[in-house]
Symmetry: C2
């Protein structure tokens, strides 16, 4: 069974997509807890941070910087990673949060 | 002026050290908000996540895994990074948090 995120990638479930390429999809959290609350998700399914190779984590770090630059908040954001504890979906994702930059958010809705 | 963390490394300020080597120091947060609340800090001073090279971030990711393994909570922890927003000390640090594993914490106090 594919993860919810993989099903979003496959257009089987709705989501608000901020960014997508071959490696990564960035969507809005379904229950945003700040004006900017994105999930940065590798398309390759991997359970959690601990189980994920350093190269994949580094690639995600690069996308964190990319998203911060796109929203023009490179000096004002937070990253949170739930590894088991607080993790609701067993497909690695980085939470990207900020109280600024929401005016730069543009989503492509699917579903 | 050196950062508070560099001054801890230089033994000019007190701290509870969990782990230290040439690259990194891991200390307990001065105001722990969970039973395990460590800060993983590169010895090289760098302001925040955005300004830090991917190689350094990757090195810190490796230490996150190392700490999780040492505390035997590789499936149960959280990582939080405040980049400007919520960041109190302008020397990059990863917060490592868990409600488990505190029984495995052993600190070397300094100061």
């Amino acid at each position: 069974m594919s993860s919810i995120f993989t099903r979003i990638v496959n257009r089987e479930l709705p989501a608000k997509i901020f960014l997508e390429d071959e490696q990564v999809i960035v969507i809005e959290d379904i229950r945003p807890r700040s004006p900017v609350h994105l999930l940065i998700i590798p398309k390759t399914e991997t359970t959690n941070f601990y189980e994920t190779p350093l190269e994949t984590l580094s690639m995600l770090n690069e996308y964190v910087k990319k998203v911060a630059a796109m929203l023009e908040i490179d000096d004002h954001f937070q990253v949170a990673i739930n590894n088991g504890l607080g993790q609701e979906i067993d497909h690695l994702h980085f939470h990207f949060l900020s109280d600024r930059g929401a005016d730069k958010l543009q989503f492509t809705p699917i579903g």
